[in-house]
């Protein structure tokens, strides 16, 4: 083989070796341990701090018992407190640490209640263009007990 061709193929071989070397450095060791993903990812996820406390913790210990009893009997009982009020894990452990502001925008309610062809017709839906004149939904509707206008 001509020397220039030898050089070219050596260069190509070096590039392939470099790729394999970089790959061996970049791909985490635990990759493929359980499946086609990084095995250590499971441990990492497990070690994330718990941010949500769960709706039950809002109603117990004489804190928000009134609003809790209204909510638990309403048709929004499947929408947890923290869905709108945000994660409250810290607040439950220390009442001085308040959760973030509640999301009460029209679009947020609309995630469930804007009219979509794919939704069952019995599910309450509105056309935002014609319903409520751009007012906040909570101006008329009580989110803790819908239909209690």
């Amino acid at each position: 083989m001509q020397p220039h061709l030898k050089k070219a193929f050596t260069l190509l071989a070096l590039a392939i070796i470099a790729f394999i070397f970089v790959r061996s450095l970049v791909v985490p060791l635990s990759f493929g341990q359980y499946g086609w993903y990084r095995g250590d990812a499971l441990g990492d996820i497990r070690n994330f701090p718990v941010e949500y406390a769960g709706s039950a913790s809002c109603g117990e210990e004489n804190c928000h018992t009134n609003i809790y009893s209204v909510w638990i009997n309403g048709s929004h009982k499947t929408v947890n407190c923290e869905t709108c009020h945000g994660p409250s894990g810290k607040h439950v452990n220390n009442i001085r640490e308040m959760p973030g502001p509640v999301n009460d925008s029209r679009d947020y309610c609309g995630i469930c209640h804007y009219k979509r062809v794919a939704r069952p017709t019995t599910f309450p839906q509105i056309d935002p263009a014609v319903h409520g004149q751009d007012m906040q939904c909570t101006y008329c509707h009580n989110p803790h007990k819908p239909w209690f206008v």
Partner: protein, 389 residues
Amino acid sequence: MESLIWGYVYPNEVEIQWSILIVLYPYITGLVAGAFIASSLYHVFGKKEVKPVARFALLTALSFLLVATMPLLTHLGHPERGIEIMFTPHVTSAMSGFGYIYSFYLIVVVLEIWLSFREDIVKKAHNSKGWQELMYSALALFSYDISEKALHEDEKLAKKLAIIGIPSAAFLHGYVGFIFGGIKANPWWSTPLMPLIFLMSAIVSGIALLILLYIASMKIRKHAIDHKCLHSLAHYLWVFLIFDVTLEMLEIISMKYESLEEIDIINRLLSDKIATTFYGVQLTMGILIPFMLLLLVGIIKNRETLKMIMISISSVFVLIGVFAMRWNVVIGGQEISKSLSGTLTYVPVFFNQEGVLPAIIILIIPFIILRVVTYILPPWKDMEEEAAR
């Protein structure tokens, strides 16, 4: 929003995810494969008429190949993660296979270009000074042997590479077709004909691009056009147009004849959603008109300027038509709901990561690369020698 939806669709379909950038991806890959196959007409099949553009076609293929992944990377929110598909590929992922086929093909094209330009590179290294000398010497890998024997060896290897190159070019683009053809949930995509349809339209678009670039570069350099070469390219364009239209029609006709459960939504797609881009642009403008014009080019004697204009118009129409074909596949396939009883509408935006502006920029970049590459490795000698003959 409501006006863009017809019938029953699923909530997660409302937003069309594969935008104009994903239309561009098979388009650019197709131009690469087409240009390479045009160059192999000389390198493998020894068609001397196309020699003037053979090396230029390789450079064109490289310029477009370098940006082929760009639409995909721009489409990804995290382009830096794109390489991970190469690090941990899975056999069930068609897309990760593309990464390897792309890399293999890039190596073949670079080697092919290097071998066919090596004589020029060595001469340039001898005749230049300073940083140019260093650059050309590096490109020659500091080996300056351009003896008869060495060049003969180069030619032998280049031919072997071109022989490997044709199936890899076909594989590269057939594979893009396979990525769509293998999506069984979408009746507009799922057909084993898809790789072949993609390949034929790729060859057609590649030859059309080469014709236009050849005419444009000769006009810019104020040099006579080799009409024999031009007519030969036009002839191949015409032949591949026939294969292309046959396959495209075969798919539609068999779909209509079989009339499976998805036929209603396919009919609605063809008669409403993509009627203009399918019948108007893809078939009439992209195939029928160029077919007639190129037929006339074959019949008319003399009148070279008229024929050149007809070939240029055909090539422009073919390029637009093939783009429309990619559009009809990528966008059309997403405009029908998985429910098969509803349609959606894609509305392109201009200033957006997924918008028309990045698509235009990505489409301009290969021409800039081509300008740079032809500055470093001028292929004009072949073109001008042949024309002057």
